[in-house]
Symmetry: C2
Subunit: 580 residues, 2 copies
């Protein structure tokens, strides 16, 4: 802000100078007093000059709508929407979202700090204000090969960038609680930079939670029970109540929200696929759920606005008051929260559900390129062979609607040389993870139970958190064919059957994001789901794509497969496929 800008703001606020823009005829939500007030909202350039009696160069008639501060999603992974930052802006803004706090953990695990830079630059090309948290745990664990590495020096350097608000979810919560040197160095870096650290501490309680909080962890979005929530709030943490595509925690947590602790409660998506956005919107869905559970509408709006601003030190937004960003959503009512118009930095950016600005995109080919480049050494069908010494094996047991697996034991048929033989009467198939970042040549194979696949194969370049290739199928031929097709098409998702490609979805941005629209992503995913269930016979109760993505995540129990082998999360060590 220059002195002249400050003078202009004061002149407009005082009413000596005509405002750049005025919104008239709105019921203004005063999040501080918790009341609705009347008045014209005056803008001085990008900022709110005040609510009062004003005239403007440009005037909008709110037609009696409620004017609320633009919504803030306090935690989201853009990559989970399979679209780029420019596109997520187009998708979310029409629902009233004006700021998101994004954690680019997925792309940074693939591309390192180059991925962070790309996400920052792409964010500049949308009206949505995308603030980032810097991924804190890259690689997520030492039990896998990732493409990126973020060390303490990288963290210190990156935290100088004001577009980065703090350190993203500290998934290695045992590292914090046990005061491991690795964790301490990262916590110190955030502390010295004076920035917040997001948490991730499911089912951590009591003294262990105190230890996590004292490390400087400010938030948690992994609460699923009221008891977890209350303990975190008592520790001075903020609870980010999640309602995403995969996880639906909000409704349960609202039972723990009170007038008094509501100031420490925020709303977040964590992940939000295009389908969910098109069907349910974004934070407007969260707000509707709040109302349905009896939360006062202004308290609900606070959780979507000022509370998030306060939590992350974004003092320039979250309220319709002098000096804050002119990020405003006009709502038809405070029950459905349908956004009639959305303003960002004083500009009308969405009207009746339509994003009004042209979408330009950050070029993914300029160096350092974000286009996926496979570093897969010497892959061949032979690497899919198992050489088992026993037919009693461990299986990764799927459960519907969960990313937690069961450590199962089964007896399977073996070929003469000890390889697994698929039996169409038994729901057990091979699962393979192929390292794709470092040319290690690593291919790990294990057995998956409960997926229901009866023919063909599926291969993905999305596989949390290191995003190696993950593939499964009934025959080595089809699995290998799916993997080869995936590599040839430059990443994404491939479904094959009997040597034919049934459907593909290229995800050229790092192998995890499309360069197409949200509508295209939704269409492709819908087609893939249909084929997976109808042509491959995958269990209808299992979401065929996202479920597979999580089979390689070695921080969620009970049994997972990384490129280094079969990992027992409970033991926190690798085990053999043979059960004895």
């Amino acid at each position: 802000m220059t002195k002249a800008e400050l003078k202009k703001r004061i002149d407009i606020a005082a009413g000596r100078k005509v405002a750049d823009t005025v919104i008239k005829n709105a019921k203004v939500v005063d999040v501080f007093n918790g009341v609705i007030i009347k008045g014209d909202i005056a803008f001085s350039d990008d900022y709110i000059a005040g609510v009062g009696q004003y005239s403007g160069e440009v005037t909008y008639d709110a037609k009696g709508c409620y004017a609320a501060p633009g919504f803030i999603d306090s935690h989201i992974h853009i990559e989970s929407s399979c679209v780029t930052p420019e596109e997520i802006g187009r998708l979310l803004v029409p629902y009233g979202t004006t700021t998101i706090v994004a954690d680019p953990h997925e792309l940074v695990n693939i591309k390192g700090m180059d991925g962070m830079t790309y996400m920052l630059n792409a964010a500049e090309k949308t009206a949505l204000d995308i603030k980032y948290m810097l991924p804190s745990c890259v690689p997520a664990t030492p039990f896998e090969h990732a493409g990126g590495f973020i060390g303490v020096e990288e963290i210190k350097e990156a935290l100088k960038d004001k577009r980065i608000l703090g350190l993203a979810e500290f998934m290695d919560y045992p590292g914090v609680i046990n005061a491991k040197s690795f964790a301490l160095d990262r916590l110190m870096a955030a502390c010295e930079a004076g920035v917040p650290i997001d948490g991730h501490s499911p089912q951590v309680f009591d003294n262990a939670l105190n230890a996590y909080a004292i490390g400087g962890i400010l938030t948690d979005h992994e609460c699923t029970t009221v008891e977890e929530m209350k303990q975190r709030i008592a520790c001075g943490m903020y609870v980010l109540m999640r309602q995403g595509s995969a996880c639906h925690d909000l409704e349960k947590l609202l039972a723990g929200v009170t007038q008094e602790n509501s100031h420490r409660c925020l709303l977040c998506s964590d992940d939000r696929q295009p389908k969910t956005i098109f069907e349910k919107g974004h934070l407007d869905e969260h707000l509707r759920i709040c109302i349905s559970k009896g939360i006062d509408p202004i308290i609900a709006i606070r959780m979507a606005t000022i509370n998030a601003a306060e939590c992350f030190g974004m003092n320039d937004r979250g309220a319709i008051s002098p000096g804050r960003r002119a990020d405003i959503v006009l709502l038809e009512d405070l029950s459905q929260f349908k956004a009639a118009q959305v303003f960002i930095k004083g500009e009308l950016v969405a009207d009746a559900g339509k994003y009004l600005l042209p979408v330009s995109r950050q070029d993914i080919n300029i160096k350092p390129s974000m286009r996926i480049s496979f570093c897969v050494k010497d892959f061949s069908i032979n690497k899919l062979k198992l050489s088992l010494k026993s037919n009693k094996v461990h299986t990764i047991g799927l459960k519907p609607d969960s990313v937690i697996t069961e450590k199962g034991i089964a007896q399977v048929q073996l070929s003469d040389d000890g390889d697994f033989v698929y039996d169409k009467n038994v729901d057990i198939v091979k699962l393979a993870v192929i390292e794709r970042h470092q040319n290690t040549g690593n291919v790990a194979v294990a057995l998956l139970q409960g997926y229901g696949i009866k023919a063909g194969a599926v291969a993905l370049s999305i596989a949390h958190d290191s995003h190696n290739i993950i593939a499964t199928g009934t025959t080595d031929l089809d699995i290998a064919f799916a993997i080869e097709t995936l590599i040839a098409q430059g990443g994404g998702i491939v479904i094959v059957k009997d040597g034919s490609v049934l459907e593909t979805m290229p995800l050229p941005v790092g192998g995890i994001m499309s360069d197409q629209s949200g509508e295209w992503v939704d269409g492709k995913l819908t087609a893939l789901h249909k084929i997976a269930h109808n042509e491959l016979g995958i269990n209808n109760k299992i979401e065929p794509i996202m479920t597979l993505c999580f089979m390689s995540l070695p921080v969620i129990p009970e049994l997972k497969l990384t490129d280094k082998g079969l990992f027992d999360v409970t033991k926190f060590d690798f085990i053999s496929v043979e059960a004895e």
Copy 2:
């Protein structure tokens, strides 16, 4: 914080290591959830490790007391207590106060940045954590001579000091609202440093208030009505509800506090004389008043703790939660709020109303010396003469219990040369202000009505905000004698009658603060009041000393006297003593 300290904190919080100190058997106030919880409070050095099950090297038994975060006075002028920072710590801590946000506006008007440095250094010598706001308006106005000058460069430099939280009350609110260059430069300096600015905007409303708020003003402690309060909160400002020795606004404002807006409400003293402290305590009085007006005890405690911490960005205190300063007050109940014990940075510092630490003092004689040095050029009794062209005069009319004066008109007796002649039947006397900082030789004389003085004279070196000498009396002889005695004794307060000194109170620190104890100050002020009323006949309804101090403050209506002359605050200009 070093890595080893962080590790120690986490180890203690997790329960792997014995805590340095544990408070057991306390009912812990959880300001975040707004509830009382049970648990041991563990300390790791100066910080709270957590509330849970802990054992400690040292254990205190809270004996069932409530444990609340230490109280924070969000706005106070230490100088108004007539004691130094070391002593204010001794006085306030036993009442549960562990942090004050002080504005050393008075001393800095006298001594400039040297005064600021002294206040910072003196603060290091008490357990009370004294945070400072940097005086923003020095001199307070261009209508008087002060001893100090704080320009934009001084502000920029000073705001680098982390002990200075921000810019103190911006008294020149017309300067902000009218976007004067002087004000803009100072606002910009605070904005660029990213620090809060305290406000001072009595009776400013609507668009003018928006203009003030958009200047970056975060707080106001001058609200006296609920309407003022609600408008400021709607503007995103915090309201500091005042209960001091002079102003009692809290009770009235509590009518405007709601569950929802209470998070933006804080408690402050503004000024708190030793007598008030000894009779009523400190923020414990505020809390009792809150309870008497039906405020929930935990909401009241929030206003005295976490709300102030949040307002001023002091994220290291204000709650009993992991990682915050171990500043804790043990309270016998949540109605009287009597402090049984007080801990600061993990150390027991007050017990049963007694401050436990030795009081050492910053030497006021080391250079730059804080000892008062008068720069009064050529004062003589002749300078007290008025040379009036008319016997119809303006009078500064006193009103009981107010620092606002009335612009009166009276007919008075004149001598042959036009000088005012005192008439014992008329309650009008001479009031003189003698410049004492810059050797200007300025002496301004006007007429004071309603003080009731019937004999002798009073002279002070406390006179807001520039603290020149102010004196009044029935004869020039006694006024001159009082002034000469004041200069000879090195500042403070002098009462004389018929050429005899009746009582004195030296205030060697800048002429406004004693180097003695609060008890000594209280004793002296009590004696002075008694003599003023009994021997000089001053109106019993008028507080004789503090009332006089405010007769030179040209920002409070209606008529005031500075060293430059009689000032009409409404006209914002000087006027002559003659009324026509």
